[in-house]
């Protein structure tokens, strides 16, 4: 079917009829997405390849159908993402005919900054600084992100249109109040907004929606036998030969999957047999831990996310 000539024959079956809350969330997100395109000069989708990015991209495609999304995707590649993420990323861009920009902090990479030796500085250099540099280089004044308010306490207080200074910093006390469906995306040159259309979704909503809409996701979310080492109570997948083994560690194959995806040495797997989407949804509904529990970098102090966000992290 030609994507530019919507079919006029059969009317669509009612979607999401059994889940009005998903319909409401979907409509709210699409409204936000269109506001950005209507009001901002040069938007970009910060595409992180995970399930939230998959849902966000799906909503963006819905918002502009039958046209293509009128802005590019930006992936901040730390060089340590799972290989399956990179393959999925490139396949996604190809499948939907999207412009994909990949940006890496090459200076830091040349200096050998890595997640094993550099901890918080690694995150700062490869994610925060890399993101700021990419937004600056391309002059993006609005960047979509897939963050949700249920993820973390400082996210719960962030606006949907989150203003950033020319230094790309977030000031939680100077947020623009938001009313109804009215958003203020106006910025001076150099300033920008980060926009979070999934603000009001929960992790479970995301999975219900992935299931209902049959949205492609990285296979790492589905359980499979994968080589992992158990370290400090976390299951870390050995994705390539750069993984540094501690004395006595040896990869063993376990049935695992991921709830959240990032840099493989910093992302813990969970033991699971859930391979199909309904199984994953069932497992999520019964889960007693949050997805952030599988992100090694988020376990510092209570305000570590707030601090990172103030510095310009997403």
């Amino acid at each position: 079917m030609n994507a530019l000539s919507p079919r006029t024959d059969a009317l669509a079956a009612p979607r999401l009829a059994a889940a009005p809350h998903l319909r409401q969330l979907e409509a709210e997100s699409i409204h936000i997405i269109r506001e950005v395109v209507a009001e901002c000069r040069n938007p970009v989708l910060l595409y992180s390849v995970g399930k939230d990015s998959s849902v966000l991209l799906h909503l963006i495609r819905r918002a502009f159908h039958p046209g293509r999304p009128p802005f590019p995707l930006l992936h901040i590649d730390t060089g340590w993402k799972f290989r399956e993420m990179i393959a999925f990323r490139d396949e996604t861009a190809r499948r939907y005919g999207l412009d994909l920009i990949v940006h890496t902090n090459e200076d830091a990479r040349a200096q050998g900054v890595n997640p094993f030796d550099h901890g918080a500085f690694y995150t700062h250099a490869m994610k925060t600084e890399a993101l700021k540099a990419a937004l600056r280089r391309h002059g993006f004044d609005a960047a979509f992100g897939g963050a949700r308010r249920d993820e973390e306490k400082s996210r719960a207080k962030e606006r949907i249109f989150s203003f950033r200074t020319a230094a790309q910093q977030w000031d939680p006390k100077e947020q623009r109040p938001e009313f109804w469906r009215l958003y203020n995306g106006r910025v001076a040159p150099g300033e920008g907004v980060r926009v979070f259309p999934l603000s009001n979704w929960t992790e479970l909503d995301i999975w219900h929606y992935v299931l209902a809409e049959d949205i492609p996701i990285v296979p790492l979310y589905r359980a499979a036998l994968r080589p992992v080492v158990e370290r400090d109570g976390n299951l870390i997948m050995v994705d390539d030969e750069r993984m540094r083994m501690r004395p006595g560690e040896a990869p063993q194959h376990r049935m695992v999957r991921f709830r959240s995806l990032g840099c493989y040495p910093l992302t813990a797997a969970v033991e699971s047999t859930a391979q199909s989407l309904p199984e994953i949804v069932g497992e999520m509904a019964a889960s007693r831990t949050s997805e952030r529990a599988t992100r090694l970098i988020d376990k510092d102090e209570a305000d570590s996310m707030e601090r990172k966000k103030r510095e310009g992290y997403f």
């Binding site: 009829a17 059994a18 395109v37 819905r62 046209g67 400082s154 947020q175 203020n184």
Partner: protein, 628 residues
């Protein structure tokens, strides 16, 4: 606790749950954050690792001794945890098997009223907390008022810390009665009062054995079952155009979120403000075309013909278009440290339209504690005011009470781009001649037809003692005898009721005339022949009264008598008082009377008996076709 309560909403089977968006508000330390923490905790919305973090934070920042401090679940920012306060709106989510909930936790501190309004703007219901020991406070009344102002129609009063009163029924009943009395005028559709303890869980999720005297539902069961009707669906179709989708060579669709009513293929719509009509051809989605879309749906509409419509326009039902105006009266909350500057140009964003505009007049500030009008020449952070806005171009709008989407607006500072004000439209200020008006099904002509007459305003102006009241009275008697529906608005009589608060200063006299003009216009709109009798000495105020009614319906009657004759008559003894210096600014003594340039009728009361003059007026009405 029921295991698996969080497992929540299923996509298959059972009644489809919608979501309920509510906010919690109340005074400082009433326990809002603790209550939300309790709801999350008891519905298993708090997960194991979050609980571990909470235990650690409780030891570090908590105010509950060794126990877990539930309020730390929602106090998200560093400054809040350090100071033990809530400084911004936090959004939380939880679900039961019956419903999904979005909670806006808003702070009780006076200086953060703007955040309360933010949280309220997207909420269907408000949960107000009071401390059972303190009862209803000023802050409680203030927040109830703001909730009502923002259009919330359902309210729950949570009488918290009831355990600290020994679960006293008497205390509970007295608080409930006081709240019901103070909120009665706010127009809430439902009011539920619940005794509870957020800290210990009484009546939060399950009914408590400690309050056997309370027969009502627990807070959660109430929230699960309360009906908040989506009224927008039953109103006429409106959709602000967000973005025009031009894809490929020949696709053109209008994208937006339906603000009210339904869109269906075949339906006739009008583009406002241009007035171009078209028909909806298709509602386009990625899965094919939809048979209909309702309020809240984000859609793309394809029309049956090429029309000129762009972002900021509104597509509306052709048979029931929305109102348009370039001057509005509105309630405005000021959100910024820099006070409102009346006359300064801001950007007004309403729907998807942004137009430059200014606050042309601040009628007064409203004290949200006492709900009284206070004169002011500015609005400061967290002030609420009644204002008039002048816009550089007409906007399509609806009163906020009817539509949050087309009645709510923000003001943006053009220099800093900060959102500095938020407002709710009450009405258009006047009828701009070049724009259409909301077509009500029963209009003035229809009402007049029922009466066998056309509405008219006979505006009697002239000096005190010129004979206005005498002739007006005779005219009304004559019309009444003819079976016509009339009403006399007498300047003096109005001062006994509607204008009781006005004195005789220049400003008050002008206000006296202004109010009389508005009432005359209303009565004319209701189909009556209005006979207004006021000195109304200034041309400008008579012109304004004329402006308030359609062309041809205003008949200015100059009741003319020489000032010496008026003095001689002096039916109310006013000239004597003025001469004695007891009355200042009295027309004809020490204030001017501006003679009408071209009155429709000129009655010289010194030259003819009043009966003849009255008959002359009635003949003029007949000649103008006011009645047959």
């Amino acid at each position: 606790m029921e295991p698996g309560l969080r497992s929540s909403i299923h996509l298959d089977g059972g009644a489809a749950p919608g979501q309920l968006r509510f906010l919690t508000c109340g005074s400082v330390d009433d326990g809002k954050s603790t209550l939300i923490g309790r709801l999350l905790f008891d519905t298993r919305g708090v997960l194991d690792d979050q609980l571990a973090t909470l235990r650690r934070d409780s030891r570090r920042y908590g105010s509950t001794g060794g126990e877990v401090d539930l309020s730390l679940l929602v106090d998200g920012l560093e400054a809040e945890r350090e100071q033990g306060i809530t400084i911004d709106v936090a959004y939380r989510f939880f679900a039961t098997s019956r419903r999904r909930f979005v909670v806006a936790d808003t702070p009780g501190h006076e200086q953060y009223t703007r955040n309360m309004a933010t949280g309220a703007s997207n909420a269907d219901l408000a949960v107000m907390l009071v401390d059972a020991r303190k009862g209803v406070l000023t802050q409680t009344r203030r927040h109830a008022f703001i909730a009502a102002l923002m259009g919330i129609r359902h309210i729950v009063l949570a009488v918290n810390k009831i355990d600290l009163t020994g679960f006293s029924e008497e205390r509970f009943e007295s608080i409930a009665a006081e709240f019901r009395a103070s909120a009665a005028v706010l127009g809430f559709r439902t009011m539920q009062v619940i005794p509870l303890s957020a800290r210990h869980g009484d009546n939060v999720v399950a009914s408590s054995a400690n309050t056997p005297w309370y027969a009502g539902p627990s807070l959660l069961s109430y929230l699960e079952s309360v009906m908040v009707e989506p009224e927008a669906l039953s109103r006429p179709f409106r959709m602000p155009v967000q973005w025009v989708n031009r894809s490929g060579l020949d696709f053109r669709g209008y994208s937006g979120t339906v603000a009210s009513g339904h869109a269906r293929p075949g339906q006739r719509i009008v583009v406002q403000p241009s007035g171009t009509e078209a028909e909806i051809l298709r509602i386009v989605t990625m899965d094919g075309s939809l048979p209909s879309a309702g309020a809240g749906d984000a859609v793309t509409l394809v029309l049956d013909r090429e029309i000129d419509a762009s972002r900021g326009d509104v597509l509306a039902a052709a048979d029931a278009p929305a109102a348009m105006a370039d001057a509005l009266s509105a309630r405005l909350i000021w959100l910024h440290d820099t006070p409102l500057a009346a006359g300064r140009e801001y950007l007004v964003k309403l729907g998807t339209r942004s137009v430059p505009g200014a606050v042309s007049r601040i009628r007064h500030r409203i004290d949200v504690s006492t709900r009284e009008a206070v004169p002011t020449d500015t609005l400061r952070l967290n002030d609420l005011g009644h204002v008039e806005l002048r816009l550089q171009a007409p906007v399509v709008f609806e009163p906020y009470a009817e539509s949050r989407d087309l009645g709510g607006f923000i003001l943006i500072d053009r220099l800093t781009n900060a959102t500095v004000g938020v407002g709710m439209v009450d009405a258009a200020l006047h009828r701009a001649t070049d724009i259409t008006w909301q077509a009500l099904d029963v209009d003035r002509a229809a009402r007049g037809r029922l009466d066998g007459q056309r509405p008219a305003v006979l505006w009697f102006t002239g000096l005190s003692g010129a004979g206005k009241s005498t002739v007006a009275n005779l005219v009304e008697r004559r019309l009444h005898a003819l079976g016509r529906h009339t009403y006399v608005l007498d300047g003096d009589n109005l001062r006994h009721g509607l204008n009781r608060d006005l004195g005789f200063s220049e400003a008050d006299r002008a206000e006296n005339v202004r109010r009389a003009s508005e009432v005359a216009a209303l009565f004319a709109d209701a189909g009556l022949i209005v006979i207004a009798s006021l000195i109304s000495p200034y041309r400008s105020e008579r012109a304004r009264a004329r402006d308030r009614v359609p062309d041809g319906e205003f008949i200015e009657v100059f009741v003319d008598a020489p000032v010496d004759e008026c003095r001689r008559r002096d039916p109310k003894g006013l000239y004597k008082k003025a001469d004695a210096g007891l009355l200042r600014g009295f027309t004809g003594v020490d204030a001017p009377y501006e003679i009408p340039d071209a009155p429709e009728l000129h009655l010289r009361t010194a030259e003819a008996p009043p009966e003849d003059l009255a008959e002359h007026v009635v003949a003029e009405l007949r000649r103008r076709g006011v009645f047959a």
